[in-house]
């Protein structure tokens, strides 16, 4: 802090300090603390607040543990988000490798710019595009019918639709970290592996993937977090049988009218995501400082 004041003087130094304090204390810390406070209090009528029943308890969390439908949806969301992360990784690894090691600098520049275009368009529209593509009488069914791959139109909305839409929405969050990681691999290492007789698959498995571990971990962490916290893809592309945990949270706030329970569910989601993030980064030995590049 002394350095900040030494560099910018007392006026600017204090201003910078105040701005950062407003952000971290007022806009990040205080809201989260209030959410925790809500999560451990019962939902009471205004007259009862501060009364004998207004005590901290684990009731809202236990409610989630005991309510079998919500519990199932919670675990399904965790599992499906992990699946989204894995599928996105599988989809993104080949082009990331190509861009980082095989393409000419000109190709790389053009392809990277092209790749960012769907990313710049907002998530609701990206999801809407899938909503139109996957409609019962939509283009995908029409093409598959015309090719004779299916003889009845398929209902894509539901688990399949949500997965497809989410993988699509998060490609860039996976592709860029992996691309950055593979780019720093010296090509002579790949050539050495080839010269020593390793097949393409073995070269990837033993040389490229270990080198890109940090990038892969970063991409997976972001994708998992975005998928678990997504509302729009399950809302548009889902079916009644494919409800997402965020939809349950939304219902507590705006239909069930129990904000305390909603806050408890949101807290569980937050703890889940932070745990997954920190454990994955620890396993892959990635520093948090390197994540946000």
């Amino acid at each position: 802090m002394a350095e900040l004041y030494r560099r910018f003087g007392s006026g600017l130094g204090t201003l910078f300090l105040a701005l950062v304090a407003v952000w971290l204390a007022g806009m990040v810390l205080a809201p989260n603390l209030m959410m925790i406070d809500y999560a451990f209090r019962p939902n009471l009528l205004p007259a009862e607040i501060g009364g004998p029943r207004d005590v901290y308890s684990l009731d809202n969390i236990l409610y989630l543990a005991n309510e079998s439908v919500h519990r199932t949806i919670f675990f399904k969301t965790v599992w499906a988000s992990a699946l989204v992360a894995f599928l996105t990784l599988v989809v993104c690894y080949p082009p990331a490798y190509w861009l980082a090691q095989r393409a000419t600098p000109n190709h790389t520049a053009v392809v990277l710019l092209a790749l960012t275009i769907p990313f710049w368009i907002n998530e609701v529209l990206r999801t809407l595009a899938w909503y139109i593509l996957l409609a019962f009488r939509g283009p995908l069914n029409a093409v598959l019918l015309a090719l004779g791959i299916i003889d009845q139109p398929m209902r894509w909305y539901g688990d399949a639709g949500v997965l497809a839409g989410m993988v699509y929405a998060y490609i860039l969050f996976m592709l860029f970290p992996i691309y950055n990681a593979i780019e720093s691999l010296d090509r002579s290492q790949i050539e050495a592996a080839r010269d020593l007789g390793a097949s393409i698959w073995r070269t990837h498995w033993r040389v490229v993937i270990p080198h890109a571990k940090a990038g892969i971990a970063t991409g997976c962490v972001f994708t998992f977090m975005l998928a678990a916290g997504s509302y729009v893809a399950p809302a548009l592309l889902g079916a009644p049988g494919s409800r997402w945990f965020t939809e349950i949270i939304y219902n507590w706030f705006f239909e069930g009218g129990d904000w305390n329970r909603g806050a408890a569910y949101a807290l569980v989601l937050l703890v889940l995501c932070l745990t997954v993030v920190l454990v994955t980064l620890r396993i892959a030995r990635v520093n948090l400082t390197d994540v946000a590049k």
Binding site: M1, M27, L125, L128, Y231, T246, L269, T289, A292
Partner: protein
């Protein structure tokens, strides 16, 4: 090159084509459906070519209202996020290694928080203070994580800042404020412009956070998502087509600014 390698290469070429089809086909279909007369947006079957959905879009007052709301929010988000993000980046560069990595972890934590949680925590805090959802809360909730992006971009630029310039300005008798205004801000300008662009796009595209704090205000993303439920027509596709065009232009401008800022460092 043995047979297995040749198969791998063939598969990869096929894969790369499939990857780009996967990336662009949904957007192309959505854009093309704007010109189909069918009431439900689709391209199969093609019932006839029309430009009428653009008229329908122009007549949709709710859409224009929601666009105004989104632009207003984006304006305030930039007004909040640029000064705070810059202050945060300057603070980081004035710290010693250990304190810096701790503060850095705290500062990027909003990026690792699910969007719905950002919205919910803001909503419950301000309800306790008697303030309900609306534009004010949308701005606060969005800014709380958009500041991270600004901070990261300004910090990246600051890493290439030559501190001797700072000392030279002071040594030549400039006040600390003068040094900041005349030396540091001009140096940071490209990063600030790029960060403002990114903040606007992030703000306008946000849905997950906004949904919880919107109150009775309806920004554009919420409006579009509601339309899907209450009666989707290709008028929404017309809007999507326009937004795709605008975002492509925005992306190109952003890229140009970024490249210019990069080349100005190389000099």
């Amino acid at each position: 090159m043995n047979a297995a390698d040749r198969i791998a290469r063939g598969l990869f070429a096929f894969y790369f084509v499939a990857f780009f089809v996967y990336l662009f086909a949904p957007l192309a279909i959505m854009a093309a459906a704007t010109f189909n007369t069918s009431r439900f947006p689709t391209i199969t079957p093609w019932q006839g070519t029309t430009l009428d959905w653009f008229n329908q879009l122009a007549a949709d007052t709710g859409m224009w209202q929601s666009l105004r709301t989104s632009i207003l929010v984006a304006f305030f988000v930039v007004a909040v996020a640029l000064p705070i993000g810059t202050a945060a980046a300057l603070m980081l560069t004035s710290l010693h290694a250990r304190a810096r990595s701790f503060l850095y972890a705290v500062m990027v934590s909003p990026l690792l928080t699910p969007g719905v949680v950002v919205g919910i925590s803001t909503l419950v805090l301000w309800r306790q203070l008697g303030v309900g959802g609306g534009i004010f809360l949308i701005v606060l909730a969005q800014a709380s994580f958009i500041i991270c992006y600004v901070m990261l971009m300004v910090a990246a630029r600051l890493q290439r800042f030559d501190r001797t310039q700072e000392e030279a300005a002071i040594g030549l008798g400039a006040s600390k404020f003068m040094m900041f205004r005349r030396v540091m801000l001009p140096f940071l300008k490209p990063a600030l412009i790029a960060a403002a662009f990114l903040a606007v796009l992030q703000s306008i595209e946000n849905y997950n956070t906004t949904l919880f704090v919107r109150g009775f205000d309806t920004p554009l993303t919420v409006y579009i998502a509601t339309k899907v439920r209450t009666g989707l027509t290709p008028a929404v596709n017309a809007l999507a087509l326009i937004m795709i065009a605008v975002t492509i232009i925005g992306a190109i401008v952003y890229e140009v600014v970024r490249r210019r800022s990069r080349s100005s460092i190389d000099v």
